[in-house]
């Protein structure tokens, strides 16, 4: 897999911490591999929307990567509930069901962006930088950008 120039948190130069939410273990492993290539760190994982809400509170991640189609509670509903409790939450929907209706619903209910599966690492990398905005810094040196 390609390596990217690491994206770190501007405030302390630490790796960006991600919560990965997907009912597929395989998809979670693939996403973990991709974010590690961005210099990121997996703060937690969840297999459905309900677990995602609890994991968000427990781990306070910088970014959530959230699937849509999941058992128990789907991703859009979980995103809405997380944003209601934590308005600062940055949630990126990562799903194969990227039709307009779903994308609009996700954005209206609090998601910051949408990435279509299969995930192209270079696309997700750009989305992460965009969503982090000034809170993210692209740097080769650990601790730089703090």
């Amino acid at each position: 897999m390609d390596q990217f120039v690491p994206v770190r948190r501007s405030k302390d130069g630490q790796p960006v911490r991600y919560l990965i939410v997907d009912d597929s273990v395989f998809a979670r492993k693939n996403l973990a591999r991709i974010i590690e290539s961005f210099g990121g760190q997996v703060a937690g994982e969840a297999g459905d929307g309900l677990a995602a809400i609890a994991e968000y509170t427990r781990t306070s991640p910088d970014i959530v990567l959230m699937d849509i189609t999941m058992p128990q509670m789907e991703g859009i509903e979980a995103a809405e509930k997380i944003v209601q409790q934590h308005p600062e939450a940055r949630i990126v929907m990562v799903s194969s069901v990227g039709y307009q209706e779903n994308i609009v619903a996700a954005l209206q209910r609090g998601a910051r962006h949408f990435v279509q599966k299969p995930v192209k690492p270079e696309v997700l990398y750009e989305v992460i930088k965009y969503v982090l905005g000034d809170d993210g810094a692209v740097t080769n040196a650990a601790g730089a950008g703090a």
Binding site: M1, D23, S24, V25, F26, A27, K29, N30, R33, T69, M70, P71, S95, S96, V97, G98, Y99, Q100, E101, N102, Q116, K117, P118
Partner: protein, 162 residues
């Protein structure tokens, strides 16, 4: 089953499988399933509900499933690895999700349910209103089959007939 329902699945399979396997994919045999469904190896089942209803089975023999999962995982996975069926389910989710996104943007509204690993050896026969079509995608890693049994719901069928 109308071709307008099938084409998005062919396009989605190409969009997901070819880059993931890093080799071209060809649509091989296309046939209507005459007999009851018989599982070939590792199979994932996805239900759709809404304007179009039915089920899709994504099916690979065990050796092909191991090779395909390894390609998508980026590392060699033995056929017996627990991640292999997980990979098949996720690929089914991606192919079907992409096809559904196209169909949804064309005005069909439905819901995709999460994929489930199919463990039974056999399935029910096609019925008059739910014919099953089997698509075979030929890849360098082996053949990947999609068994699609969908039907328009009554209201939609009426609208189409008008």
């Amino acid at each position: 089953m109308k071709m307008e329902l099938i084409q998005p699945f062919i396009n989605a399979a190409d969009a997901v499988l070819a880059p993931g396997l890093k080799s071209p994919m060809f649509v091989g045999h296309l046939s209507m399933e005459e007999e009851a469904y018989r599982r070939k190896g590792v199979a994932a089942l996805v239900w759709l509900t809404g304007d179009i209803e039915g089920r899709i089975i994504f099916d690979l023999d065990s050796a092909t499933a191991g090779r395909v999962a390894s390609r998508f995982a980026g590392s060699e996975l033995p056929e017996s690895d627990g991640l292999v069926p997980e990979a098949v389910c996720e690929l089914a989710n991606q192919v079907i999700g992409n096809a559904v996104a196209t169909l949804n943007d064309q005005g069909f509204h439905f819901r995709v349910h999460p994929p489930a690993l199919l463990t039974s050896e056999h399935g029910s026969r096609s019925t008059e209103d739910t014919e099953a079509m089997v698509l075979c995608f030929e890849t360098a890693s082996g053949n990947i089959f999609m068994n699609i049994a969908l039907r328009y719901k009554v209201q939609q069928a009426k609208a189409v007939a008008k």
